[in-house]
């Protein structure tokens, strides 16, 4: 065909149809991989953590009964996508007993502000977060003024036959309400 032949003007009905089909077809062609990609990318939303189960932590006798908390590792089986770990440290809790009491209090070591690892300051008898200067009293209360929106997160705690078990949960940080992650 000659290069100089006139191109029929776009705008008649046949060309209108061609435009629609081209747009829809092209859109579908691109959207298919996009949709498949989005579908797969959203997979993490389906994943639930293995949290919220009672895990044995220690014997009551190893929790000092002088009101000074003590840190214990939380040991549990853990899966990370395709890898399974048997009995691994997955976090830490502080256990505490008031003088002479058998009631054990449990706190997660994760700071409710931004998720750093709270440390125990034995000298000043308080908890301190090393990141943004949040401090907490030995019973987990907030020391004002604090960047943290709430007190340390307590964990449900069971003492049976002298053994302490703790319901291991993760909580959303940075909000006032203590809300467990699913």
């Amino acid at each position: 065909m000659s290069e100089n032949a006139p191109i029929p003007p776009a705008g008649d009905r046949r060309s209108f149809l061609a435009k629609i089909v081209a747009m829809v077809g092209g859109g579908l062609a691109t959207l298919t991989p996009v949709a498949a990609g989005v579908w797969m990318s959203l997979d993490p939303l389906r994943r639930k953590s293995a949290a919220a189960t009672f895990l044995p932590i220690a014997d009551v006798s190893s929790v000092p009964d002088d009101g000074m908390p003590r840190q214990f590792p939380v040991i549990a089986d853990r899966t990370d996508a395709w890898t399974g770990f048997a009995a691994e440290p997955i976090g830490a809790v502080y256990l505490r007993r008031e003088a002479g009491s058998d009631t054990v209090q449990a706190f997660t070591a994760t700071c409710p502000h931004a998720g750093c690892f709270i440390e125990l300051d034995q000298r000043d008898r308080c908890f301190r977060c090393p990141c943004h200067n949040s401090s907490f009293t030995l019973d987990g209360g907030i020391v004002s003024p604090s960047p943290s929106p709430r007190a340390m997160d307590t964990l449900e705690c069971e003492v049976r036959d002298g053994r302490v078990s703790v319901k291991w949960e993760n909580f959303y940080s940075g909000i006032e309400a203590k809300e467990a992650r699913p």
């Binding site: 993490p44 014997d59 006798s61 890898t83 502000h113 931004a114 998720g115 301190r128 200067n133 006032e176």
Partner: protein
Amino acid sequence: MSSASGPRTGSEPGRRSGPLKKLADFFDDRTGYRAFVHEALYERVPGGARWRYVWGSTLVFAFITQVITGLVLWSSYSASAQTAWESVYYIQHEMAGGWLVRGLHHVMAQAMVVLLALHLMQVVIDGAYRAPREVNFWLGLILMKLVLGMALTGYLLPWDQKGYWATRVATNLAGLVPMIGPSLQQLVVGGPDYGHHTLTRFFALHAGFLPGTLIGFLVIHLILFRKHGLCAKQPLKKPDSMFWPDQVLKDVVAMLAVLAVVMGVILLPAVRAMVEGRPIVPGELGAELGAPADPSQPYAAARPEWYFLFLFQFLKVFEGWGANGEFLGAIVVPGAVLGMMFLMPLIGRWNLGHRFNVLFTFAILVGAGLLTGIALQEDYAALWADREAYADAEQLIEETQNDPEKIATALGNDETRLAEFQAEAHELEAIRRSEAFLSAVQQAEFDAHRAVELAGRPERIPPGGALELIRNDPLSQGPRLFAQHCASCHAHVDPTLEEAPAMLAASSAANLYGFGSAEWARGLLDPEAVVGPAYFGNTAHADGDMVSYVTDDMTDADTWSDEQIEAVVLALAAEAAVVSDESADVEGVDADRLEQGRALLADEERCGSCHHAGENETEIGYAPDLAGWGNREWLIGIISDPNHERFYPETNDRMPSFGVAEEGGVPALSAAEVGLLADWLRGDWYRGE
């Protein structure tokens, strides 16, 4: 000469001919590349080339450096929780040139942030965001966000403690975004917990999505830049010139300057080592590599990279604001600042708008600089603080156990004194925080160094990853286990240190530093030392038979000569055979004296009257068994169960049985942990070259 002179010959026909020219013509006919190159190089620069126009080019140079080094790093990097740290270790410490490529990538990323700030400032000051360049300014802001996004995602990839904990904070903050926050966080993290999929996602963002998008926007940014031409700073001082070569020359000089600074940062420690006469270790140059990420191990030195430090510090500003504070500090204010920048081209139309924009930009940069300064000041305050000035306040806090009522009483309920005390206590707390940070940094450096040392063992890293090495390393775990389980009674301090006496006085059980060594045994048999705090002084054994035997019988030179005591010391050390104790090396000592010592230990008139030792027939149960005293098996035994008949079935002072639990219970320490403690106390750990 090469075809680099092509564009010129294209416009000056007939200057050269030959095979090269023919080849160039062939391609030009089919691609029109000469016109394209000409278009690219012969841009008019109104008022001539100037230094103030170099920033954009240095950024392109920095980005190209990142692409090149990034691709090479990519070819050696493996994104999974068991291989990320390990592959970065291999790059940094074992691969030829790995430290240099990684160092360039790491330091150039920081240079890029600085160059971004300079480029932005230059654009704002010159008003280069005004019509018709608004869209290009917005593109620039998007590019800035992309670069910062790459900086943030890249920090995690080595999967070391620093990156892991900083990323936890950053992703937790993402969870604060209204409505979609929690889902957004879970998407970014790749699930409910940090692991493989956090790494694979961050890596895909860092090396794929973000740079891909960036290249797209950068191309449009450059095309628009060319379309509008350079926004020349008025008044023009010189005649117009061409981009090539005048401006390109200035750009190249600036790029070389950037590169020189980057290389300087990488090589400075090498120069310092050379000056101080230390050997240069290439693996220690360039980018740091911390200890492998460990969710169960606190990391008190967690800080973002310096250019995000102002955001970190900004969160502290909202003390006492509750949840609103964090939302404001992490989401609202940074979002508002960015929104304000997007509005700059519109604000700039208004009479005073341009001045406002310039002031606003400066205010933000000065504010960020100040916050960074405060963050650094808070972290390093202890280095220059006068600790002595707070001695009184510190003592009062200690004596009253920080009880407000007792403090008030101690200060006579005097409000002025109380206010003074509170101010001092506040400052003291800041210093202590800084001290804690500095010691955490020191610990982090130690852990990092140790991880590298262990990874370099001839046995290499196990399939479970480097964390396994660290969790099974007595030198890494011993001090932590000791601090957690033993240090409330026992000291572990070199007695020759300045701070030793105070630490010993505060302890209530024997100092276990060097336990099992000849030096330790010598102290045990010394009449003064044995009643001191380093041995039995602060225990129930202070009134026991051992102490009275050492202080009474052994001081009688007729029964115990110095030579005999020394022979017993040697025999005890030989039983323990502590790795770090040279005198325990049986081959190095006089065999006769060792034999003499062993006989004295077993002698039923002497040590053997209470202790079972050697071949003697003393029953175990009254005093600790000396057969194998202090060796690994003996230590594991006493840590696990001091009430066992081999140790103190009747006379155990206060020591808990760490390795046994009541039926169905959990022992305080696992067998592996007891073993780690025993090995650490005996100095038995892997030592590098």
